[in-house]
Amino acid sequence: MIRADRSRLPEVGPDPPFRFPAIVRHVLPNGLQVRTLEHHNVPVVTFVLQVWGGAGADPADRHGLCALTADMLDEGTGTLSAIDVSEALAQIGAEFDIDVAPDAVSVTLTTLTRFADRGATLLASMATRPSMHAEDFERLRQLRVNRLQQLRDVPQAVAERAFLRLLYGDHPYGHLSIGNESSLRAMTLDDVRHFHSRSFRPSGATLVVVGAMSHEELRAVAERAFGAWQEPTDAVERTGIASEIDAPLVPEARLAVVPRDGAQQSELRIGHLSTRRDTPDYAALLVLNAVLGGQFVSRVNLKLREEKGYTYGARTGFDWRRGVAPFVLQTSVHTAVTADAIQDAVDEILSIRGTRPAGGREMMLAKATLTRGYSRNFETSQQVARSVAQLVLYDLPDSYFEEFVPRVEAVDADEVTRVAARYLDPPRLVTLIVGDHQAIAASLRSLPFGEPLVIAA
């Protein structure tokens, strides 16, 4: 028998070549863009219907409108009540999900291939002809108001909301998709109907269909279900699009606290607005993030968790969108070490800009985590369908996934230092703490951020 050689780690060969399945584009007579991909792993089919808009399209006095509209889709269609819709989904074993993102809404339905037509028809009916009954609207609105109340006790949600507001101010990206209590109360069913008719129309939608069938069969399923969807006659005005509105560059405060008396941990957000998803520096920023905080082995987690034991985990990331996106470091630390953890985190952001640039090993590791084993991101029909929807959302070419690996591999350490210096801007960093203000107030004075802005939860 061959014995294991434990004197060194085994060599790892080159990655097997990665091929993304072919994307075939179709346009239905009503203008609906359809993308089909064959995926013959398991007899399953996934539909993703993506429409423009998203939470960034909420009117300034109607925050939460997009999400509430999306929520109304499965609350009844045709002769089916909300309960009937839920039953119909269960009868075909469907997984159903609505995602409200800053720039788009996507509705995803996965079912067995033998139910492909039933699934597609149900999806089309919900998305294009929701009943929008007044009593369902009232019930959902009330549930959302109550949900908001509950979120006041969830530190992550409190931090998310306050941080978006600190970074974006009044910009359309500056609120959570769920909105706030007063905007929800002000909403009417007409608002929802109007939002739906603006957002859900064939000309502004893309349907991605991925499954264990031929392209022609997949297209035919789409056409049978969505062919009768008609473009409304009124034109949609192209104004007020979130990604085209300038975001504030200078934050309102450097340090803010949302008091949470007696909290055992401080929920932290540290960051600022950075750049857009379509930046030519995207690949370099991904590598930068992987070195700094995108992975378990990145600097921020190694420092705060593995070296200091301050936290269960810490990470950084760009919350990409079509418009200017935030760069955020997030973690939750033991109350007693709050100020120290902030100092360590800020130091990591500072030093990668030049005093401690990404090293050779770090670069190799960062690029490997992004590129090697890339194919595992495309195992299921749902993963493939959602990936293609992202191409549409960000105007990326169909060849994008096959070009991704060489693009990341081409990034070098100098480029990472350059984008770190350009897109990480220490004087603009905003630190938000959701935690026990009394317990941490004295220690916060050791930080060079001045008196904190205190925000109510």
Partner: protein
């Protein structure tokens, strides 16, 4: 529907399972150790989970972090501990399979020489942070702790949750690590599953190469304990929450025992999804609850069925409890409808099929093979597992509901905003958890 595999047992007792799936050029590497928090003792809780953390800190021949070499090869990896088992997995590009086996075998065979008190202390802090973040500082985060503490007597190994008690975690000694490792972390108490873009013969050869040199230990005696409650126990827990929430817990059939699948189906029928009975009554029609859910928490020594509902503003847990009892009574007397049975069967078939889509990670095919192997001694149990759901009948569901969901043998915990114990169910005893 099937999950085919090859099983081979090494001389040291390690069971190796291989499943080929060449759809994507990756392999799921998955190791189960048959140890969880149920192998802990009273006042020494949280150890199995803390130990899982130590498995990522290095082993004798790779005496530094577990993550870097694997991530450098394009792997994703993780591990988890529950009451019954601890699992570890990597999903690697096919070209890195040998590396993953080297790493997994090194920590199975040679962990202790690399463990230092400093690493132990650091991970103890990390776990205390994990506990604060996921339990203490989370609304309703301590509720399930209170439910299991009431369902099981103090010496029963399900009396505590896997995260353990904070005081126990603080009191752990470095010396305990070695004994724990020697007892539970060896080939005869483990199962290795490889699923993905591999050739079965080559995969078995590699498993042999890396794992056969590790000496076996004695197979640990499985813990055994009984629990029952002969009455309804009503408790109230004050928490930093806005809305009162009701938790109802019952003892239920052990994992894979008769009635286990029925209880799972009943959880969906009663409280999962808008078409479920309790959602319809409590949330949709009467609007006295904001949400409702149920689960059959299947475990080796005995399961527990949990029902959770949050009161709508101004509504009372007492009314919710009455409505729940009425629906339960209806299920017990009339059984499920034809359409409920059809729905349950369609969902089971779809869920099992969806489970065949990924080779690795939590719930992937390699994880499932290990689950069936460790808990059933039969990695090929997949199709029989599905059959349990397909063979359920209205009568078997009714019988399970009647047998297990008794009003006079359950724990009813009211979690209420601080200072509002009056909004709990009548007669609730205060309980404190930390």
């Amino acid at each position: 529907m099937d999950l085919p595999f090859t099983k081979h047992t090494l001389d040291n007792g390690l069971e190796v399972l291989v499943h080929e799936d060449h759809h994507v050029p990756v392999v799921g590497v998955n190791v189960w150790y048959h140890v969880g928090s149920k192998n802990e003792r009273q006042s020494r809780t949280g150890f199995a989970h803390l130990f899982e953390h130590l498995m990522f800190e290095g082993s004798e021949h790779h005496n530094t972090g577990y993550f870097p070499p694997l991530q450098q090869a394009g792997a994703i990896l993780n591990g988890s501990t529950n009451a019954d088992r601890t699992n570890y997995w990597e999903v690697v590009p096919t070209s890195a399979l040998e590396l993953a086996l080297w790493m997994e075998s090194d920590r199975m065979g040679y962990l202790l020489p690399a463990l230092t008190p400093a690493r132990f202390e650091n991970q103890r802090d990390v776990v205390l942070n994990e506990r604060r973040q996921n339990y203490e500082n989370r609304p309703y985060g301590l509720a399930v702790m209170a439910v299991v503490a009431a369902l099981y007597p103090p010496a029963h190994p399900y009396h505590w949750l896997t995260i353990g008690a904070a005081d126990d975690i603080r009191a752990m000694q470095f010396e305990d690590v070695q004994a724990f490792f020697r007892t539970y972390y060896h080939p005869a108490n483990a199962s290795l599953a490889l699923a993905g873009d591999i050739d079965t013969t080559a995969a078995l050869r590699l498993a042999e190469k890396y794992f056969s040199e590790i000496p076996p230990g004695p197979r640990p005696e499985p813990p055994n304990a009984e629990a029952s409650i002969g009455r309804e126990i009503r408790l109230v827990l004050e928490d930093r929450v806005e809305m009162p929430r009701l938790y109802m817990g019952w003892h239920s059939p052990a994992m894979f025992a008769g009635g286990d699948a029925e209880m799972d189906l009943l959880s969906d029928l009663l409280a999962n999804g808008k078409a479920s009975r309790l959602y319809r009554t409590l949330v949709y029609e009467r609007r006295i609850a904001l949400d409702v859910s149920a689960s059959q928490g299947s475990r080796e020594l005995g399961s527990f069925f949990l029902l959770v509902a949050t009161a709508a503003p101004g509504k009372h847990l007492a009314d919710i409890a009455v409505a729940i009892d009425q629906e339960m009574q209806r299920v017990i007397e009339e059984g499920p409808t034809k359409s409920e049975m059809e729905r349950g069967e369609a969902q089971a078939e779809a869920q099992f099929l969806y489970r065949l889509q990924t080779v690795g990670g939590f719930g992937g095919k390699s994880d499932q093979l290990n689950a069936y192997n460790v808990f059933r001694g039969d990695p090929g149990y997949f199709s029989r597992d599905l059959a349990r759901y397909q063979q359920a009948t209205p009568e078997s569901l009714r019988a399970a509901a009647r047998r297990w969901l008794r009003f006079d043998q359950r724990v009813a915990l009211s979690v209420v905003p601080r200072g509002q114990t009056a909004s709990a169910l009548a007669g609730s005893e205060p309980v404190s958890v930390s």
